[in-house]
């Protein structure tokens, strides 16, 4: 048995009910949602690709273990979408399996040009939650119809926050117009040391307008880490408490003042622990952030 596999199993063997009484090593950095003042951990859990495992029982059980370790490390926000295949059902089954953790911050999306309310209800049933904490208009699809729907749901108390999403730098002008012209709680966009377009207008605007920011694709679907793995971790990484490239990238993202939460996706228990550890300890100052971005751009 590999050492990492053994290490993954130890907590579950020693403490099978860990989720009921989570033991936090060090509390992760928490950041404020401007519209409410509520604080959430700066690292969440995405589900694009990694949780879309269909009816594979072994893989579904593994996803539940990822979630168990996520919560045990102090995580709260899980993000999904009806567009992500079986991910919502896998999350719902996993949540039930690990005892429906009360600290869950459920973030989902509406992704349809019509019938948004029915889709949200179907998603809620798959998640097996009484209501969502956050609902976002996925990739601005029919946002002029869906955003009013979500805002009406919020007014009725059927969802706590509403938002919009984009990825990979698309439609930033339209995102900016919505951020300026509509009352939204969250915006989700792509941000990492190599994809920094959001720094120009959207992140400053989010601060100005009091909008929380979820950063998606922190690792470019893993491609960034695969590239970085070819290079040795520089000595300065230890200065900000990083033991891996993944932690360097995540600390860079969540240390931006406008970013509320990064949502890396993973199907590996070791990686979710590593990701959550990035939200603890020291965070890079602005000069170090610039150094990280410049260093990664050169590699």
């Amino acid at each position: 048995m590999k050492r990492r596999t053994l290490l993954n199993l130890v907590p579950a063997l020693a403490c099978p009910g860990a989720i009921a009484q989570p033991t936090r090593r060090t509390a992760p950095l928490e950041k404020r949602i401007p519209s409410s003042g509520e604080e959430i951990p700066a690292v969440g859990l995405g589900s694009w690709i990694t949780f879309n495992v269909g009816n594979d029982r072994v893989a579904r059980a593994n996803c539940a273990e990822v979630m168990r370790n996520f919560f045990a490390a102090g995580g709260r926000l899980i993000d999904s979408s009806p567009m992500y295949g079986s991910s919502q059902g896998v999350i719902g089954e996993g949540l039930q399996k690990i005892g429906s953790p009360r600290q869950l911050f459920s973030a989902d999306k509406v992704w349809t040009s019509s019938g948004g309310a029915a889709q949200v209800e179907a998603s809620r049933n798959l998640w097996r939650v009484p209501r969502f904490d956050l609902l976002q208009v996925h990739n601005l699809l029919a946002w002029d119809k869906q955003l009013p729907l979500l805002q009406a749901m919020k007014a009725e108390g059927r969802v706590r926050y509403v938002g919009i999403t984009t990825s990979e730098g698309r439609r930033h002008r339209e995102i900016e117009e919505i951020m300026r012209g509509h009352r939204i709680d969250f915006v989700q966009l792509t941000y990492n040391p190599l994809d920094r377009e959001a720094e120009q207008r959207l992140l400053p605007l989010a601060r100005e307008r009091g909008i929380a920011v979820l950063a998606n694709r922190p690792f470019r679907e893993g491609a960034l880490l695969r590239d970085l793995r070819r290079h040795a971790l520089p000595a300065w990484a230890a200065e900000i408490g990083c033991a891996s490239w993944a932690q360097v990238v995540l600390k860079f993202i969540v240390s931006h003042p406008a970013v509320t939460c990064a949502i890396p996706a993973t199907s590996q228990v070791a990686h979710v622990r590593e990701n959550m550890a990035a939200a603890t300890g020291l965070m890079p100052e602005e000069a170090m952030r610039q150094h990280i971005a410049a260093h990664l751009a050169k590699l």
């Binding site: 879309n52 495992v53 893989a59 567009m83 601005l140 990979e168 698309r170 439609r171």
Partner: protein
């Protein structure tokens, strides 16, 4: 879809290659030993049309109709659709192809289009690869036998074998019968391309 030019093929891949191959492995395990039956049926069809036996076009259509219906239902609808919502449309396309073959088998209209030497050679090559050699691709790619893709079980070899058999049999209206298999092959190629990132 706005800004469509900014999308890469891999942006549409909503599952990991490992999830896909685990699905294939489980599917092969679930339907075993159907593989022997479908390969045997394909081999007999190949011999029938290569030897220019009578009513080859009817025999090909009659055997391929249930195969396309099966692959569409058992693979696309039951297994693939949970991880890829587009597979629902593939399942429908496979059902339509089965219907077209059923009609072709029952209808008496249309003239056989005798194949020239070049078409026969291409047809023979495609049919031989689709029916007999396709499972070996898994081994060549370093995957185990349990991940082999077999004619009449998986969409790729079924579509390729079908193309070959249509060409060899000189199937009437074969241009219409070849559209969905061509699209199925394109979908296969696109998925494999996306796997490369």
């Amino acid at each position: 879809m706005s800004e469509w030019w900014t999308y890469r093929l891999s942006d549409f891949l909503m599952f990991s290659p490992s999830t896909y191959w685990r699905l294939v492995e489980h599917y092969n395990r679930d339907v075993w030993p159907l593989h022997f039956l479908t390969i045997a049926a394909g081999a007999i069809l190949l011999w029938w049309v290569a030897a220019q036996r009578p009513a080859a076009e009817t025999v090909v259509a009659a055997v391929l109709a249930p195969m396309w219906l099966w692959v569409g239902w058992a693979f696309h609808w039951q297994r693939y659709a949970p991880i890829n919502w587009a597979a629902v449309y593939l399942a429908m396309a496979f059902a339509l192809q089965a219907l077209l073959f059923a009609v072709a088998a029952l209808a008496k209209g249309g003239d056989v289009q005798p194949a020239g030497p070049l078409v026969r050679t291409c047809g023979l090559a495609l049919a031989a690869i689709g029916v007999l050699l396709y499972p070996l691709i898994a081994l060549a790619a370093g995957r185990p036998w349990s991940l082999s893709e077999v004619f009449g079980v998986m969409p790729g070899p079924t579509a390729m074998g079908t193309w070959g058999l249509l060409l060899l049999a000189g199937q009437p209206h074969r241009q219409w019968l070849a559209v969905i298999p061509a699209l199925a092959l394109l979908a296969e190629l696109a998925t494999r391309w996306a796997f490369q990132g």
